[in-house]
């Protein structure tokens, strides 16, 4: 009996070792160029250099938000709109880094027969409801004097949209890269109907930290923010172009040349640009204005019940401290 007991404990121990000594900051990151860029800091050992222990956990985007909501992560990489959703439905968070805004990577892709957004009237569009592509699609419809009732939405996980478009069952899909790029490539004659480049700033991407962790480990998080701007500086240097593509592409299992357009569709914010975006204001040049649009959208489409206090989601103080 005793033997069995030790065996059970042994197996249980093996299965759980990784969860037991989980002291470093745990950050969930996923397949978006502005977040994959953290990998540069990981590969170059800059976090260790800065004296901060961070575990970057590579996950699916939606799974990472779920894990954050379940309290398994100290921070997660999200868009401003999804942070509001996660905050309203699971767990609030606060953005201490604004990595970038989407500048063409989120794309409404139409099949060959669709000439422009207007042609989508009465047609099926596959997208993940309540997420960024939904918002972008509505923005596209609005820009063409249409509304959601003009199309039929087929709720589809974003990473499955390329297959759905290829199946020919829908007229268009909306997805972020690399899914949108895969769709453009695999479906002959498919084209860009509308993209985040048509509404830059509608989607900001950031590092959203749990308020408790930020309060408890502010000094540590400050080091993380510092490493981020080290990464930004590295990315902006022409000389590092190929190497950064190598690192990013390797993380997501793509060829570096295929990754280039993805990085181009992401506007990485410099320290000054991030601080400017942190300024409260109307319109898409401020993350507040952008989030207000998301918030209205989320309430209107009953993603959650009541409007969120947007100011609680953004903390520019760490970035501002670095600028000094």
């Amino acid at each position: 009996m005793k033997k069995i007991k030790t065996m059970v404990m042994g197996i249980a121990a093996v299965a759980m070792t990784t969860t037991l000594h989980a002291e470093p900051l745990k950050v969930g990151y996923s397949d978006w160029p502005g977040w994959v860029a953290w990998e540069i800091g990981v590969q170059k050992g800059w976090f260790k250099e800065a004296g901060v222990e961070v575990d970057f956990v590579w996950m699916d985007y939606v799974a990472s938000m779920e894990a954050y909501g379940a309290g398994q992560l100290d921070a997660v990489c999200m868009t401003n709109g999804d942070a509001l959703v996660t905050g309203a439905t699971a767990k609030p968070s606060v953005a201490i880094v604004l990595n970038d805004y989407s500048n063409g990577n989120d794309i409404l892709v139409g099949t060959k027969d669709i000439k422009d957004v207007k042609d989508l009237k009465g047609k099926k569009v596959a997208l993940e409801e309540g997420f960024v592509p939904h918002l972008l699609t509505l923005k596209a419809l609005e820009a063409h004097g249409m509304s959601e009732s003009d199309i039929e939405i087929v709720n589809t996980p974003t990473d499955e949209t390329p297959q759905v478009l290829k199946s020919g069952k829908v007229a268009a899909i909306c997805a972020w890269q690399p899914n949108s790029g895969t769709a453009l490539k695999e479906v002959a004659g498919s084209k860009v109907l509308f993209s985040s480049a048509n509404a830059p700033g509608i989607i900001y991407d950031g590092l959203f930290v749990s308020p408790e962790s930020l309060q408890k480990n502010r000094a540590e998080w400050l080091k993380v923010v510092k490493v981020w701007y080290q990464i930004v500086e590295y990315l902006k240097d022409e000389e590092n172009h190929e190497e950064s593509l190598d690192i990013l592409a390797q993380r997501v299992g793509m060829k570096p040349d295929a990754y280039e357009p993805l990085l181009d569709g992401t506007f990485i914010l410099s320290l000054e640009q991030a601080l400017a975006a942190y300024q409260p204001g109307e319109g898409l040049s401020s993350v507040y204005g952008s989030s207000k649009i998301s918030d209205d959208f989320n309430v209107k489409y009953k993603v959650y019940e009541s409007a969120q206090d947007i100011s609680k989601y953004f903390d520019a103080s760490l970035t501002a401290e670095l600028a000094k």
Binding site: I4, M7, V8, I11, A12, V14, A15, M16, T18, T19, A22, K26, V57, W58, M59, D60, A63, E66, A67, A70, G71, Q72, L73, D159, E160, P162, Q163, P178, N179, G181, T182, L184, K185, E186, A188, S190, K191, V192, E238, E239, H241, E242, E243, D246, I247, A249, Q250, V252, G253, M254, K255, D257, A258, E260, P261
Partner: protein, 472 residues
Amino acid sequence: MRNWFKVAAPLGDMSARVLVMCSFLIPLVLWCVVSYAPFLWERDYRLTIVSAPSDTQAFPATYLAGDVVSDDYFHDYQQAIRDDNAALAEMRESSAKDFGMSERSARSYNKKILRSFVPVAEENGWFNVRIKDQLSSKDYYREMYATMFRLWGQLDSGELQVADGTLSDENLQLIKTNYQLLNQVADNYDANKFLSEPMFQLVPQGRLKVARPVYIPAPDEVFNSAWADFTNQSELGDLQVASRYRSSISVVFSGFLLAALIGVPIALLAGTFTFLSKLIEPFVDFFRYMPAPAFSTVLIAVFGLAQAPKVALVVIGTLPHLILMVANTTRTVDRSLLDAAQTLGASRLQVIKDVVIPAILPSLYNDLRILLGWAWTWLVIAELIGMKSGLTEIIDTQGRRFQFDHVYPIIFLIGLTGFFVDQILSGVRVVFFPWIVDEKSGPIAQIVRLPARFVAWLTEGRLEPEINTKAI
């Protein structure tokens, strides 16, 4: 022919073996026919030189060398680049010299054009991208650009000749023009002194090939990708197949062992005592219809993100079946044995320990073997929850990008592992339980049995282990 379909008639050894081979060969042959038969499909172009047309509205996708495009698209694609080049030539002629891009973008644009020549250089044996394994990323690109620059110079002077069919005359002319431009700035590649106005893009080139749907890669493509992926030479970077393989195996086996450790004692008791059977089995029977993956979010909340929730999923998926199956097996113990033992004064513990367990051991072994196969089927779902891990990460990410030549090898690897483990376990069964007469014994079972047979032959001069009648 008539003999083939005799109802339940046994087959000769030889024909049985041939049929076993055929059962594997037929799917393989079908795959080859579907892949290689030209009459089934149209013809497409596999690109060897790629460029990026400026009209991103009409050409939104990024193509890489090795990608396949349709006939129509290929010609439009070529034309788009020719148009772009013509427009560029016009801009160069005009006095304004406004190319519509910054110097930095122009440099990056030009480097891309140099890069587009790499596949041609490789095909001619002038360059090997594998040197990337030995060099740092920075050194590799410096070396690569320098080599392309030098090769263009040698092509321009006529020092080098390209092999037939690797470079069109049109592109050779473009290269010569480009080299003149590059050469005006510097004699050799120098990142700090590099042409800052755009040069001509090479016109896309490709080879005709049989067009297949992307989800049917040819066996040779799959084999080549498998070889590259498994030996760390993949074009997708280091896929870490070996460590992922270990991780996947550990998920399956930890989950299975944990399920067995929990389930077998429960099942033994439920199978022996009707009281426990009625208390436990109805709920387990109900539980097994609940889809295990539905618990994934709960498992993450409870067990965190590492391997633990995955192992737990395998346990949840396997345990109910294990309990029901083993309990049923336990009930097959000959009643008269139980009665006899009890008449002879055996206590309940002794009945379980000395009668039930020895009696069902061979069947229990078999049940567990089948359940291990069951555990394998949960692997992919388990590895998708929380943090994607193991072999599944490759299957999932590459599948979504339609890189099926990288997906199939991994699926085969999982299938083969499951199959061989099962064959070995079923072979070893005879060694553990020699009193069970097993009629079907595959080649692996025979190999596994060899040591036992050898020992038997050495010690007793017989070829089969002695049938142990004392055991029952």
